[in-house]
């Protein structure tokens, strides 16, 4: 439970999130706080990047639909980065293992939870496309596969330190959900170490608010 408490400290304002759409591995020596929120769960991750190829952190995820929480260790590996003068592409492998436990009067006890997946993105200063997926097995709390694609564009080119603005559309697919596919248009703003995303899931009528802070 000590781990749970530490992770909960990170979770803090778990109303928001940032999908790992935005560089889940930082520069060597960097720390990152990422909060995620989607139509089903809210989560927060704090990770440290010891080398530019991987990061490791602690993560908490609260499944609002099924009333359970997962407290986990979360490594991410940058398997490949493609460089160009005008673009960057990335392929990540992410995963985690920890404890799932019932919350909000859910009587189900602790259970081992494991998850893993891949992420990929390609980005220029004005175009972005990305894909990610994850398979989660949390024992008696169930298992789930999800995947999502996101595409967006920047209406202008911001320079270093400017406010950067992106308009994006995210389509996510969860085969076991009542609404297996949903669409969320969103706006991404970032400036310096801060990144914010706000959107609205048009299919299930839920807001999206994501946050990343890098230090």
């Amino acid at each position: 439970m000590r781990l749970a408490l530490v992770v909960a400290l990170v979770t803090a304002t778990s109303i928001s999130s940032l999908k790992a759409w935005s560089r889940p591995v930082s520069y060597a020596g960097g720390w990152t706080i990422i909060e995620e929120s989607d139509r089903q769960a809210s989560s927060a991750l704090i990770h440290y990047t010891p080398s530019p190829n991987w990061s490791a952190g602690i993560r908490t995820e609260v499944n609002r639909d099924a009333d359970y929480a997962i407290y986990s260790i979360h490594p991410t590996f940058l398997a490949k980065r493609w460089f160009g003068a005008d673009y960057q592409g990335n392929f990540y492998i992410h995963g985690g293992a920890g404890v799932a436990t019932g919350i909000n009067d859910n009587p189900l006890g602790d259970e081992l939870a494991t998850y893993g997946g891949v992420m990929a993105d390609w980005e220029t200063r004005t175009l972005f496309i990305g894909y990610r997926n994850r398979y989660l097995n949390s024992g008696h709390f169930g298992d789930q596969f999800m995947q999502a694609v996101r595409a967006g564009f920047a209406p202008y080119k911001g320079d270093s330190g400017d406010l950067h603005t992106w308009l994006m559309l995210e389509i996510d697919h969860r085969p076991k959900d009542g609404e297996p596919m949903t669409a969320t248009p969103l706006i991404r703003l970032f400036k310096g170490p801060l990144l914010l995303e706000a959107g609205y899931n048009l299919t299930v009528n839920q807001p999206l608010f994501n946050f990343t802070y890098r230090f």
Partner: protein
Amino acid sequence: MHLPILMSFLVNVAAIFSVTANAQEHPDHNHHAEHQHTMGVDPTQAQPAEQNHDNDDESLDTHSAAPASKTTANTAALTRTEDIDTALSAGGEPIVADVLGVVCDFCALAMNKIFSKRGEVAAIYVDLDTKTLNLVLIPGATLSDGRIAELAIQAGYRVAGIRRGTEALGRTS
């Protein structure tokens, strides 16, 4: 239910302090809008040190830290900011490194964080328009091409070419 509120408060306070500290550490970053993309040379600036390659490339990991080439098609001159001009006036060596994959502000942040920790660096600016890392060293300091390339890797990026001295300032000789 009070615990999440308390935790939220603590995280936000920590974030505010960190932002403040960063702003104090790199005040020039808040004045980026003042920069000019100067292709010529400001004659009022102090002459940079002559090319001073120390070529002490260090052992590198599985990534090749050597610049892809010493010269590239990119001939962007040093981007001028207030801090860079100040460091030039003090006699520091200007360096322009063409960097691959720098497409967003997080990229610039990473380069700033890595290079600003170096004692040799007096001023830094990452120019997303010219895709360059712009450095001015403190007078008398050296930073080899290999070390610059290695530091760029630590930031998560690759150096394609490096120009120094008069070449970095846009002079042809």
